[in-house]
């Protein structure tokens, strides 16, 4: 499987106490375990089951995903920023792989 590539959109700057919108997308087939291949065998389930967003080690948003989430899972959510810091995004695959991405934000 191609290596999943996370793409994250976080504003570079924000004012103190502002609620910002974060958009994330990761390329992943999200194999549901319902689909059959040409021979009629079930394709085994392989999805990203957890997505997490942390700000300087503090949890901001977390999502448990089931097979009904579309391929290339997209997430849009909010975060309130009080000070400059780093957002850390983590995706956990069914096979145990972890994909990560980090984004800095400056608060003025």
């Amino acid at each position: 499987m191609a290596n999943p590539k996370p793409r994250v959109k976080v504003p570079k700057k924000a004012s103190k106490g502002e609620v910002i919108t974060i958009k994330t997308l990761i390329s992943h087939p999200m194999e549901s375990g319902q689909r059959k291949d040409k021979e009629g065998n079930l394709v085994p389930r392989q999805i990203i089951n957890t997505f997490k967003c942390e700000f300087d080690g503090q949890l901001v948003f977390e999502c448990d995903m089931d097979p009904a989430v579309s391929a290339n899972p997209y997430m849009e959510f909010n975060a309130k920023v009080e000070n400059s810091g780093t957002f850390k995004f983590t995706w956990v695959d069914d096979d145990g792989s972890i994909y990560e991405s980090e984004n800095k934000i400056t608060v003025e």
Partner: protein, 149 residues
């Protein structure tokens, strides 16, 4: 009694709107969905309101249906939305996703894209930090199903 052209149009539109709304009145959830809601709320019957589900009325492709959910809440350290459960009644397995928020989220809103097997109700159940629960349902018409194939 005679109708003017304008009145006829108004009546037809009104009737069409009623027909479109009518199926939503009967909330016939499947057993699996009921069980999932019960497990999430801890047996309590969720109230309506507060949580809003944003779905398209018609989804042409069931493989990627944009779904948004927002919950009215001040999102402070002692009054915030803990989690929101998204369910799709007509899917082979109703569970779709669970969002967990914190006071750091600022606003209890999230958007994602989901798979829908057929025309069905999508359900959002929100749980507050004080344990109260709220529910919203929306019907989504699906032209091409997004499972199997």
């Amino acid at each position: 009694m005679t109708f003017t052209r304008r009145q006829v149009f108004g009546l037809t539109a009104g009737a069409a709107a009623f027909v479109a709304v009518a199926p939503r009145i009967s909330f016939a959830a499947t057993d699996d969905t009921e069980a999932a809601i019960k497990a999430f709320t801890g047996g309590a019957e969720p109230a309506t309101g507060t949580v809003t589900l944003d779905t398209p009325e018609i989804a042409e492709n069931g493989n990627t249906v944009p779904v948004g959910v927002s919950v009215e809440s001040p999102m402070t350290a002692d009054n915030y939305v803990e989690s929101v459960l998204i369910l799709a009644e007509g899917n082979p397995s109703p569970a779709v996703a669970t969002f967990h928020f914190t006071a750091m989220s600022g606003a209890a809103e999230a958007k994602t894209r989901i798979r829908l097997a057929k025309t069905q109700n999508v359900i959002a159940v929100a749980k507050m930090n004080d344990g109260s629960t709220f529910i919203d349902r929306k019907e989504v018409k699906v032209t091409i199903g997004g499972c199997g194939g």
